[in-house]
């Protein structure tokens, strides 16, 4: 257990340090999300009431697209100088690598979301009518749902031809229920109609189940030859 924790921490520290110095994934993701927000904003031009109804969908579509940008780069880094091959022959636990990557991506995407939130509020004149603190839970649980599957499927698409195209093709169908729950919870909070509790519970269960499945199967993917 302590080996798992130490290797996870080392992987995470390495990823954070690399990202801090280059800011490649972060800048690409941020700019991409900004573009999506701007394009949606002037193609719909909603009133305040309409904005509350559609913003939930727009926010998560923007996040989903920009997460793909980050995830495609997440593993590509490990291919240079055969880092992944070296990892495969080392005795370090496979799941530590996966957990380190997932937590790293989670932090990047969460940071982008927190920077995007004010922009959304400005462009769509948003004011939540429901309990807005619940939005933090939606962000955390929803982002984890996208990132845990995304990191896993990025490791799969790494092994295919034209891998950058492959990732959304396999990730989006699996993410549909999670996106539906995130959109539902966000819309509920913005419009103040009903409670987001059910959607939050659903997201929590989704997170736990898919994290478990990923941890069970990651070793097979890493050692697939």
């Amino acid at each position: 257990m302590s080996t798992l924790f130490r290797v996870t921490r080392a992987t995470l520290a390495k990823d954070l340090r690399l990202e801090w110095r280059s800011k490649d994934a972060f800048n690409a993701m941020l700019f991409f999300a900004l573009l999506v927000v701007v394009i949606f904003s002037f193609s719909f031009e909603p009133t305040a009431e309409e904005a509350r109804r559609i913003a939930g969908g727009l926010i998560w579509v923007a996040v989903l697209f920009s997460t793909i940008v980050a995830l495609n780069q997440a593993w590509a880094r490990e291919l240079r100088h055969q880092v992944l091959d070296a990892y495969r022959v080392s005795p370090a636990p496979a799941n530590a690598l996966f957990l380190g990557k997932t937590v790293g991506n989670f932090l990047f995407v969460l940071a982008v979301e927190l920077l995007m939130a004010p922009l959304f509020i400005v462009f769509y004149n948003l004011r939540a009518l429901g309990p807005s603190h619940q939005m933090l839970y939606v962000l955390a649980l929803g982002t984890w749902a996208l990132v845990v599957n995304g990191t896993f499927f990025a490791a799969i698409s790494l092994r295919t031809r034209s891998r950058e195209v492959m990732l959304p093709l396999i990730l989006f169908p699996i993410s549909i229920p999670a996106v539906l729950a995130m959109v539902s919870a966000t819309t509920t909070i913005l419009t103040g109609e009903g409670s987001a509790r059910l959607a939050l519970t659903f997201l929590a269960v989704y997170d736990v189940v898919f994290t478990t499945v990923s941890l069970l199967l990651f070793e097979s993917v890493l050692h697939a030859e």
Partner: protein, 233 residues
């Protein structure tokens, strides 16, 4: 050894013709919907066969992850392909029936949406198989199949809970209560025929996959034995 394929194909053809007769002629016309209801004899059996194929695919995928046998992988890809074909039939015949009866082509109700997402997942499964190469392909595909299976449960629950603002359509003449015995017979006859047809196609597809596999192995061996010859080919 002589292949039993022609005999099985003939039997399947006879069964399909019998099913066609049952659905088009023998089954009584439904009171309110009229002849439109007859699409039910293709829609429902296709759905059952598609779900059976996908269930088989998940079982084969899990078996593959445990045992790593190439035969099981060939069965997994065969069942997935046939399942996608039958699922496509379901998704095409459904709206064709819904438009005159419900007045709409499509509604985001739990059963429709789950079937659509299931179709999307298995299409992505086939795309993944197409885009990955070598010996890692079966492992990656099997892993995706397991994810897809777990996901379907979530899809069904999520649509039931978060899409309730849409009215639940009432399915007249469904497989629930009060179906005429002749209708039930036509339905089951078609199910048997479709199932036989699906098994036949899976079997042919399986043999094709095995032949492909041994051809690949042969080429790989030949390349090891005579590198010069393989390069010139």
């Amino acid at each position: 050894m002589k292949s039993p394929l022609p005999i099985l194909a003939l039997l399947t053809g006879a069964l399909l013709s019998f099913g066609l007769y049952q659905a088009r002629v023998a089954a009584p016309t439904e009171q309110t919907m009229g002849d439109i209801q007859r699409i039910f004899y293709y829609h429902v059996p296709s759905a059952w066969v598609a779900f059976l194929c996908f269930t088989a695919n998940v079982l084969f995928s899990i078996h593959y992850l445990v045992r790593r046998s190439a035969k099981v992988d060939a069965l997994a890809v065969s069942t997935a392909e046939v399942g996608v074909v039958f699922c496509t039939v379901v998704l095409v015949t459904g709206p064709l029936w819904a438009k005159p009866v419900w007045g709409i082509w499509w509604t985001w109700d739990a059963r429709l949406t789950s079937t659509l997402v299931l179709w999307l997942i298995y299409v992505s499964y086939l795309v993944l198989r197409r885009f990955s190469t070598g010996s890692q392909k079966p492992v990656l595909a099997a892993v995706l199949a397991v994810f897809g299976f777990v996901d379907v449960i979530f899809v069904y629950m999520s649509i039931r809970w978060f899409r309730t603002q849409h009215p639940q359509p009432v399915i007249g003449g469904g497989e629930g209560s009060g179906i005429h015995p002749d209708m039930l017979f036509a339905l089951l006859a078609n199910f048997a025929a479709f199932l036989a047809f699906a098994l036949l196609v899976v079997w042919v597809r399986y043999r094709l996959e095995r032949i492909r596999h041994s051809l690949d192995e042969f080429h790989a061996l030949a390349a090891v034995r005579a590198p010069e010859e393989a390069r010139s080919r």
